[in-house]
Symmetry: C2
């Protein structure tokens, strides 16, 4: 096991109607002038935004608002939010929405305490301070409600880049599973795929003897595999939504990733897809992850066999473990199809002939991607081809 | 799933030689005048205490010290520690040791900011503030390094009582598995049993549909079942020690207990045993937990069957699930014996004729104990008898 630090200080407020406590928690965590940041119409139409405002008002907290976050959130709105925060002396950013809204809020919180261009942090500048951020989550997927990470797409060149730091961890996150009961099935399934990917980026590692994190990873995957089909068949099933919502947090606050090298190459390959074709992140991952698995499986057949046996209930083939490994990948792909996810380029309207362009934008050059197998540009090209 | 709050803000610093960073983290978390609190000789003999002092000195942090914590820590030393803290204007308590030392440190931190008797909090007064506490852990067991709880025995009547609150959560905890490599096997096994008990107090619940926490619980148990025998056979096996150390934290920071009713009756029945006979807490739990299981199994046979199948690898008997349930309990008891734990009163030098006294000290009267099955005084008597 590698040495590690683990820090997840977010105060999680989970359950029915908990968004009505937003004001109480903003106050407890020191907010007095709040920017409420959100996306589109559903937060307004459902009445959620009004309930949140009423909760802040009941605590006499000043607030202003900025809507309009799009999936794969863009730099333009971040600049606008930073501008508001600086002019209005905002001290607290409250994200009401999903991963895109939360990531956009984190970027605003970061840029508001910085004289330069916030994009510097997405190009590698270390994060030191940010305004307090809190979240009211409306989709189980990104895990941004419990992580210190943020992914933003810069409109200048459509570069999708990630940045992270403890200062960007939400001070509190309100998770009410009821809010996810109205999601379209495609979004529920994309969210479930995103969570599974967060676990698997950590699961496929070269670090030996990390049984505790292996078992936690497997437990989260088993939960998603059980609960996602229930939520799709019965969208207002509270219990299933609740399990998925908490699984999404645990999948990404790094409790299932500590002590081991992590990979993250599938995420980076997917970022190019979603930046080019503006597909749902989870859908892009459903296309990229099985392709990555097929390409790297022979690096450690027994780890893929463990995945197959423990997560997918396959029988171990002790004579030919690679059969078990392949069966696990096939079961994963069948699961993705069963929940309505795409598994090939064409289903995303992505094109095989764009592959050289995708590879070029990744900008690897002589560097490599990932850690389980260090992927060269040739490997990445092969993986994209497997996804066509 | 029940509504819940989850808050685990401790900064965990895990791995080899990390105790040498103690000074850096005390400083980061605002400590300037430190009480180092510890137990007996091993912390001194091993050189650990000197390394910690050197680390504090290198950051020019003032410190004083108080040793002498015993297993099942007593109120007397707590009063002494509070006295030192008040006189010396201590602002930070650094526990160097195991659960007893950490619990004693939390009690000192609590009492140092209170005018009255610290015992008030162990009799139910809500915890609001305490000095900052941090830990350098030397045994994987209690999980106190990541929890807000503390258990102290009052010498006046040998009452063993628990108290808890977010203010008592350690600000940081340093977990170096190397420090546990010199533990006697009996302590390693008692620690492993304690961890398993922390999980099982949460696992046996009447709350339905908490698959995510079920799976996390099972993952932690599977890890302990794999790793404890390795550590016993090969005490300096770092990887096994590391898995156990992190499992002990995860078992008790409540990530595997959220969203569900928890039981804790076995712990309370054990507290009477260890207060009377001064046995290791884990050893007492090894005696009480299987007895409790045998008594309550019929309340929910399928939950015990799930435990048997998922944790102990039993085959499900679909015609007679109670056979599977019984087999799981038997495998658990066999495991405890295999790691050198006692499973009956006599092995603890406890006496069947003391049972009425134990039951009386529990002080149930017309109240009940636990939540999975609400135990009356008669139930408790029966369970103690099953343990004889």
């Amino acid at each position: 096991m590698n040495n590690f630090n683990f820090y997840s200080p977010t105060y999680f407020v989970f359950g029915k109607e908990r968004e009505n406590e937003a004001g109480k928690y903003v106050k407890r965590f020191g907010g007095s002038r709040v920017l409420i940041h959100y996306g589109g119409g559903s937060v307004i139409k459902s009445g959620l935004l009004d309930r949140v405002k009423a909760s802040l008002a009941s605590e006499n907290i000043y607030f202003t608002e900025l809507g309009g976050v799009m999936p794969n959130p863009r730099s333009g709105l971040v600049y606008k939010g930073i501008d508001i925060c600086k002019k209005e002396k905002i001290d607290f950013v409250l994200a009401v929405g999903g991963g895109s809204t939360i990531d956009s809020s984190k970027a605003i919180a970061l840029g508001s305490l910085y004289e330069g261009d916030f994009w510097d942090f997405y190009e590698g500048k270390p994060v030191e301070k940010a305004l307090a951020v809190a979240t009211i989550l409306t989709i189980s997927a990104a895990g941004s409600e419990g992580s210190g990470g943020s992914v933003i797409t810069h409109e200048n060149g459509m570069l999708k880049r990630a940045c992270g730091g403890d200062a960007m961890r939400p001070v509190f996150s309100i998770l009410n599973p009821e809010l996810t009961c109205t999601l379209p099935n495609y979004q529920t399934a994309s969210g479930a795929t995103d969570m599974m990917a967060h676990v698997m980026e950590r699961y496929f590692t070269n670090t030996k003897d990390v049984e505790i994190t292996d078992r936690l990873c497997e437990g989260i995957l088993l939960t998603i595999i059980k609960e996602a089909p229930i939520a799709l068949a019965d969208p207002t099933n509270y219990e299933s939504r609740a399990n998925l919502m908490w699984a999404g947090m645990v999948a990404h606050n790094d409790i299932c990733g500590v002590g081991r090298d992590q990979d993250w190459s599938s995420h980076q390959m997917e970022h190019e897809l979603s930046a080019y074709y503006d597909v749902a992140h989870g859908a892009g991952l459903a296309v990229m992850f099985p392709a990555w698995m097929k390409h790297v499986m022979h690096h450690n057949v027994l780890r893929f066999a463990q995945f197959a046996v423990r997560v997918w209930g396959c029988e171990m083939d002790f004579e030919k473990p690679e059969n078990t490994a392949l069966q696990g990948i096939a079961k994963f792909e069948q699961f993705l199809i069963s929940i309505g996810m795409p598994v090939r380029f064409a289903e995303l309207n992505a094109k095989g002939e764009d592959i050289p362009k995708l590879v070029k934008t990744l900008g690897l050059g002589s560097r490599t991607l990932g850690s389980f197998v260090k992927l060269t540009e040739n490997d990445v090209t092969e993986i994209y081809k497997l996804a066509v």
